[in-house]
């Protein structure tokens, strides 16, 4: 409990700018080639996820997506990469090569020579949370540190985009430029909580060592366990997590103007709404329908779309929810600042 109190009293983090690279091209889910190899029941499950199209650029790797997003964030803020204090890369689902470093590759490409550089991950779409925790820790611990850039390129690990029975993965890059809070910041992350349960560490996995990439498949080792036990644990965990986040900030659910979650499926969004007895921001369903699942990038993408669509306004508080079958859960409390055209979906 004392750790939580210390954590809570730490300074908020400002999101100075968000950069994205969302490919122009899309794939229609109904035309995905992997559907031909599925049973009729599994095919219907895929088609009923609430995803019509996914963003896709087969010519870009996850690294390419992250780099383009990182450059977009720096451009929006007018900040030279050389002044970055830290660069945190959220690991891709599958790196192009092993042993090598996507993080220092990005450092070199950007010219972020003075930055402290490392990678975080291991929690699926929740991995945005340890990136924010690390950034906040760095900013709090070192008064001389400049901006921190968090970047991620989301792309399916194998050739198949459908992960039965969960979601369809799209392509997209996102970068968050973080700094200490100031009045002009368009978004402030006020607080965040994260929990994990290691019993689910390999509930979903992709075997790769003994097979060519064409046979890589994201597989669930225990479908009833996923649909029942983890779902019900999520019900209990998510409610407690949101209550903890709000209560330690002296808030109730009545103070929250909007909730956003990651984009897995229409059923997943409904599950979150029924579990918490809330309504999610309309941007969640809209982005799910158009873009599919973009991993750790989803929640800030949905927040950006909500801001662009004026679903939220300056001064509003919002909660961003992430659930991963690893299993991990996180809830972020954010405050909307003045909008100067630096946030958005572009």
């Amino acid at each position: 409990m004392s750790a939580e109190v210390t954590f809570h009293t730490a300074a908020p983090v400002a999101v100075e700018a968000v950069g994205r690279h969302l490919p122009d091209r899309t794939h229609t889910v109904a035309e995905l080639p992997e559907l031909a190899g599925l049973s009729e029941a599994d095919r219907l499950t895929c088609l009923n996820l609430g995803i019509e199209t996914v963003l896709a650029d087969d010519g870009l790797t996850s690294y390419d997506l992250a780099e383009r997003a990182a450059r977009a964030a720096l451009d929006r803020a007018g900040l030279p990469a050389a002044s970055l204090g830290a660069l945190i890369v959220i690991e891709p689902r599958a790196p192009e090569t092993l042993i090598s470093s996507d993080a220092t590759r990005l450092q070199h490409a950007l010219g972020a020579d003075a930055a402290t550089v490392f990678t975080v991950g291991g929690l699926g779409c929740v991995s945005v949370t340890p990136a924010l925790l690390a950034a906040r820790g760095l900013l709090a611990a070192d008064p001389s540190l400049g901006h921190v850039l968090v970047a991620h390129g989301s792309k399916p690990a194998g050739g198949a985009r459908y992960r039965h029975p969960v979601t369809v993965n799209g392509d997209g890059g996102q970068a968050l430029l973080l700094t200490r809070p100031h009045p002009a910041a368009p978004i402030r992350v006020l607080d965040l909580v994260q929990r994990t349960d290691g019993r689910y560490w390999d509930l979903f996995r992709l075997e790769y060592r003994d097979r060519p990439t064409a046979r890589w498949r994201e597989e669930c080792r225990d479908l009833p366990g996923y649909s029942f036990r983890l779902a019900m644990e999520t019900r209990n965990r998510l409610g407690a997590l949101v209550d903890e986040l709000l209560s330690r900030n002296g808030l109730t659910r009545a103070d929250i103007a909007g909730y956003a979650s990651q984009n897995l499926s229409a059923g997943g969004l409904a599950f979150t709404e029924e579990t918490l007895e809330i309504g999610l921001l309309p941007s969640c369903r809209e982005n799910l329908r158009r873009f599919g699942h973009l991993g750790p990038n989803d929640v800030f993408l949905n927040l950006g779309t909500a801001l662009a669509g004026r679903e939220l306004a300056e001064g509003d508080l919002a909660v961003l929810l992430n659930v991963s079958p690893v299993a991990a859960w996180s809830a972020l409390l954010v405050e909307i600042g003045p909008q100067h055209g630096r946030e958005g979906t572009a």
Binding site: A41, P224, S227, R229, R235, E274, T275
Partner: protein, 105 residues
């Protein structure tokens, strides 16, 4: 939907285990829109998604006035109407653990 009052499942309505099983079976048949027998494993039949799981657990909690905790989430307790009856009776004190059938925990 009726709600319990803190009494045990049997005491709420004076129902026997078979009557509770019958009620749960009717709930499952309605929720899944297909006939479900007392010993049908609806997980094995692939009929359970997270939304149905939420509906099922919420029904059990509200109807029998109990709370399903994380440590209660043993799939074997929920996979058939008859097993669910045993779980309900165990949770509400109508059936002691040593009277449950092997495999219910």
């Amino acid at each position: 939907m009726s709600h319990g009052t803190g009494e045990t499942a049997g005491e709420i309505t004076g129902e026997t285990a078979e009557e509770i099983t019958g009620e749960i079976t009717r709930f499952l048949t309605d929720a899944l829109r297909r006939p479900v027998g007392p010993d049908d494993d609806y997980f094995e039949l692939g009929l359970v998604d997270s939304l149905f799981a939420l509906e099922l657990v919420t029904y059990v909690e509200q109807r029998f006035d109990l709370t399903v905790e994380v440590e209660d989430l043993d799939l074997d307790s929920f996979r058939t109407a008859r097993r669910l009856t045993a779980f309900v009776r165990r949770k509400t004190g109508a059936e002691t653990p040593d009277r449950t059938r092997a495999g219910d925990r």
